[in-house]
């Protein structure tokens, strides 16, 4: 039977390529179909709606900038959740770590206002990573030592983190004025918008650089996606995390300490989520307040699933979510589709893409079953 086994990997690689590229495209087409039916039934112009969705997300450099802006925090939370998945951990509490990262960035950004950007920005990013990691550390230790499930503990820490921030912005860290928010961080600590990096003459000559609100956080995010990909692929740290994620028993047999791998992985996940909060503070709001995250930590779970936990896959997955979010304004404005219908369409798209990985999982399992029947 070994001959047939040998034939399979090649066959699989070929099928793999088709599945990886073809299936998401098919999912999007089906999603557009179902979305059109929903809009048609409820009396809206589906063609105009999807045209507006595209125009609002990719139609102009500014629209694309809006997509990038929205994708930025999602890349980080997507990476956070995906790295956790790789080590077999479900960090459902990225939202809380994001809040702590944002808090650290908002605090340090005020303290370091006098520093030049090359001193302030790295310190803020590192501080946010440390804060996010610290927020994941206790759940990590609880998981490693007594097996307390990280879904429960990270979620609990999310509540604690959010309430802590909400108390601080009303109380000790509140800026003067009517609004419960912190003082604006120093200009040097802010992540500049991409178009501000170019002179007006350059922008005149190359108008496609007018990325609107997109800020340098997207560059940091893509950099981190590549770093995480390299860590998983080319370091013993990533190797051990994946080993524990796939088969903790075999990893343990191979001399890998399961508990310390869990702690490391969850803290790294927390650090990435912390960065998500930092880029929102440093690139968008320049301060922190009660509701500064629109559930990016939770959306990150969906991003990681769509990306099939691949750090590089997180980038297009986050862009998809960013685009759906960026296009919703024009869908309302130009096609008169209410936000609630848009949310349904977005859910259908995400559902079908996620379902696609479920379907693939089924296909793989059937192949496995077939082999074991034969074997």
């Amino acid at each position: 039977m070994s001959e047939t086994h040998e034939a399979l990997p090649e066959q699989r690689r070929w099928m793999g390529v088709v599945q990886q590229i073809g299936a998401p495209v098919i999912s999007v087409i089906i999603a557009i179909g179902i979305g059109s039916v929903i809009m048609w039934v409820s009396g809206y112009d589906a063609g105009a709606a999807f045209a507006a969705l595209f125009k609002g997300s990719f139609g102009s450099p500014k629209a694309f900038g809006d997509t990038l802006l929205r994708a930025t925090p999602l890349i980080f939370t997507g990476l956070a959740v995906a790295y956790g998945f790789s080590a077999g951990l479900f960090n459902i509490g990225a939202e809380g770590q994001l809040f702590m990262g944002g808090l650290a960035a908002a605090y340090l950004g005020v303290q370091l206002a006098a520093q030049p950007w090359y001193a302030a920005v790295p310190v803020l990013l590192l501080g946010a990573m440390a804060a996010g990691a610290a927020w994941a550390f206790v759940p990590a230790v609880l998981k490693a030592r007594i097996g307390a499930h990280e879904v429960i503990t990270t979620m609990m820490f999310t509540y604690i983190g959010k309430y802590l921030v909400s108390w601080l912005v009303v109380g000790p860290l509140k800026a003067p004025g009517q609004i419960p928010q912190t003082v604006t961080i120093g200009t040097s600590a802010q992540l500049p918008r991409i178009q501000t990096l170019f002179s007006e003459a350059t922008l005149e000559a190359l108008p496609f650089l007018r990325f609107g609100r997109a800020h340098m956080g997207i560059v940091v995010a893509i950099l981190f996606a590549v770093i995480m990909w390299a860590i998983l692929k080319y370091t013993t740290l990533g190797y051990e995390a994946r080993a524990v994620g796939f088969n903790p028993t075999a990893a343990e047999t191979g001399g890998i300490s399961v508990s310390s791998t869990i702690i490391k992985a969850l803290c790294i996940s927390g650090a990435l989520a912390g960065l998500s909060g930092a880029v929102e503070v440093m690139g968008v709001h320049y301060k922190i307040f009660d509701q500064f995250s629109s559930g990016f930590g939770f959306t990150g779970i969906a991003v990681a699933l769509v990306a099939k936990k691949n750090p590089l896959g997180v980038i297009p997955a986050a862009l998809l979510f960013g685009a759906l979010s960026a296009g919703s304004g024009l869908m309302q404005l130009e096609a008169d589709v209410p936000q609630k219908i848009i949310s349904i369409i977005q859910a259908v798209v995400i559902f079908l893409i996620a379902a696609e990985s479920v379907i693939q999982w089924f296909i793989k399992r059937r192949q496995k079953e077939a082999l074991s029947h034969a074997g």
């Binding site: 179902i34 039916v37 929903i38 039934v41 409820s42 009396g43 609002g56 809006d66 802006l69 929205r70 309430y163 909400s166 108390w167 009303v170 109380g171 004025g177 009517q178 609004i179 419960p180 609100r213 968008v284 709001h285 307040f289 009660d290 509701q291 500064f292 629109s294 979010s325 960026a326 919703s328 304004g329 024009l330 309302q332 404005l333 008169d336 209410p338 936000q339 609630k340 219908i341 848009i342 949310s343 349904i344 259908v348 379907i359 089924f362 059937r366």
Partner: protein, 356 residues
């Protein structure tokens, strides 16, 4: 077998999606804009951006939309509403409306203050209005629409201060001279409610004890219920909540343990079903009036840019809702006291403090 089932499943799923969403969609349509009435047309296109609460919040977003719809039917303006789902949507929504030629554009909620300041500089020809927004120095094309919540709360305080001594109103009134206040967050805006309420109550009942508790947010209904319980435990029999959705929990506590409730923002007798037996009255913020008046000014070419406007009792920007189920039980003396206080404030004989 597997394959067959997955097909059946897929079809079932698709059907469920349709069945589940279609009625929702249909009802969504009803909230769509009414057909413009045959009114003298104006070139003004007014629009609004909701905060993340969206339409259907039975509060500021809905009230602002009411104001816009009234402007549409009475003034013949074209209107548009963009709902925000995330905070990131604020800027892009306002930006898109501005570049599509809408003016004035209403931004609902204080979280959009910075955004309005920023976008307004990019569109100097477009007028912006911020509901509940306090601009340090509003630009010439921006108006802040704010409310003298303390004045309406003062009237609520008068009602509460008298009602806690009058057992004929309800068997929920006890012997103790205690009333309660539930605040959302301990911020200046909410302090205005508390200050007005306390001043109103003391003006008619100097010995009354007002206990104030804060939830720390505007969303946690369980917390609101808990705060309601502790107020009732401390013998409060009339409770006023300025706490958004937190107040809904407090209403539950009042129904459970027997106390009267004073609603906030909208006439909560209408917006919270089944609350009639505890809803004494509500302190209404007439955002709809503020929005309508602002559109009207824009149509007349007198948009009040560069100002912070305060809508008080005089302007009809705040008011007390009817007593509804308690209309027959509330004695004329209380109604007279409310009316006297209203006149005193409008005439300027009484100035309601903004802070405690």
């Amino acid at each position: 077998m597997n394959r067959k089932w997955s097909k059946v499943l897929a079809v079932a799923l698709a059907l469920t999606l349709l069945v589940a969403f279609v009625p929702g969609c249909a009802s969504e349509q009803e909230t769509g804009e009414p057909t413009p009435a045959e009114k003298p047309a104006t070139s003004v296109k007014a629009a609004m951006v909701t905060d993340v609460g969206g339409l259907g919040d039975k509060s500021f977003n809905d009230l602002s939309y009411e104001g816009l719809k009234r402007a549409q039917s009475e003034l013949g303006v074209e209107i548009k509403v963009l709902e925000s789902k995330e905070i990131t949507d604020y800027e892009s929504n306002i930006d898109q409306l501005a570049s599509a030629g809408y003016s004035p554009i209403f931004a609902v909620g204080f979280l959009m203050t910075d955004t309005v300041s920023k976008v307004s500089t990019m569109y100097p020809d477009v007028n912006f209005a911020g509901v509940d927004e306090f601009f340090a120095e509003p630009p010439a094309n921006v108006v802040g629409l704010n409310f003298k919540e303390q004045e309406g709360s003062y009237l609520a305080g008068v009602v509460a201060g008298l009602a806690t001594k009058d057992k004929t109103i309800s068997d929920k009134i006890n012997d103790d001279n205690v009333i309660g206040f539930v605040g959302g967050m301990d911020v200046p805006l909410i302090k205005k409610f508390e200050a007005g309420f306390v001043a109103g109550a003391k003006s008619v009942n100097p010995d009354v004890q007002v206990i104030s508790l804060y939830a720390g947010n505007f969303t946690d209904q369980a917390k609101g219920k808990e705060l309601g319980y502790s107020l009732i435990e401390k013998k409060a029999d009339v409770i006023y909540a300025a706490a958004g959705a937190v107040g809904l929990g407090t209403i539950e506590a009042c129904k459970d343990k027997g106390a009267l409730f004073i609603g906030v923002d909208a006439d909560q007798y209408n917006t919270v079903p089944g609350s009639g037996d505890v809803m004494l009255t509500s302190m209404m913020k007439r955002v709809d009036i503020a929005v309508f008046e602002t559109v009207k000014a824009a149509v007349n070419g007198s948009f009040p840019g560069g100002q912070i406007q305060y809508f008080g009792l005089k302007e009809g920007g705040v008011d007390l809702a009817p007593f509804h189920d308690f209309e027959s039980k509330v004695p004329q003396t209380i109604k007279d006291a409310v009316e006297k206080a209203r006149q005193d404030i409008i005439s300027g004989a009484v100035t309601v403090p903004e802070t405690l």
